[in-house]
Symmetry: C2
Subunit: 130 residues, 2 copies
């Protein structure tokens, strides 16, 4: 499994080329998580993300290596934005390539659940609504 991890304060590109390993790749799935205009019952202008990057990368790698045993995907790309992220923009983009779509879907859904639970990425603040 190829694994690419990137944290950046820069906006995640609006469109990224699909991951593919060539003639053996039958499925690519991408998830983007956008900041919504409410947090709890507050209207917000954005969220601020922080991480402890060495630990976050280790945890992401650990989760991916555990999940690939049951869901044999070929390549995983995870981009996470740090710092202020305005409403409507993506905080995360996760792409998965696999032979068949069932593996890709299962990996993606499980990965996102584990990421939220186990990886030290925090929403440390909100930006005021415009």
């Amino acid at each position: 499994m190829l694994l690419h991890i990137q944290f950046s304060p820069e906006p995640i590109p609006a469109a990224l080329p699909a991951l593919s390993l060539g003639s053996e790749t039958g499925a690519f799935v991408e998830f983007r998580g956008f900041v919504r205009g409410e947090e709890g019952d507050h209207t917000i202008g954005g969220l601020v993300y922080e991480t402890y990057q060495p630990m976050a990368e280790r945890e992401i790698t650990r989760i991916a290596e555990a999940l690939v045993v049951d869901h044999p995907v070929q390549a995983v790309r995870i981009l996470h934005r740090l710092g202020p992220v305005p409403v409507g923009e993506a905080a995360i983009c996760l792409g998965v390539a696999a032979r068949h779509r069932a593996e890709a879907f299962a990996f993606l859904a499980s990965f996102m659940d584990r990421l939220k639970k186990d990886v030290p990425i925090w929403k440390t603040d909100t930006l005021p609504a415009a």
Copy 2:
């Protein structure tokens, strides 16, 4: 639910902007299905897709309207290529925008299962391996 359906003999663009309805959209998921280099136990160079478009569009609309009841997504975009599709290129691209990722994942997985089963899109031929 916004629903966009497009059949075309042209290649599906390598990267498409995410669907979003603005501050209410928290999740976007895209699936791409690529033609793989084997069909059964044959090595192939591609597949040829045909459809009866009026019926395919009706069925896709029917499936989407049924699924949105349980999985309240906001927008769905489906592009399907027709005619010859070489190995490594996408035959289908399905994008789903929703408030939360769980709805988007569930809609996407169910939609693909139903599409394969109920929509008159056929693989009518194979292209010889290079």
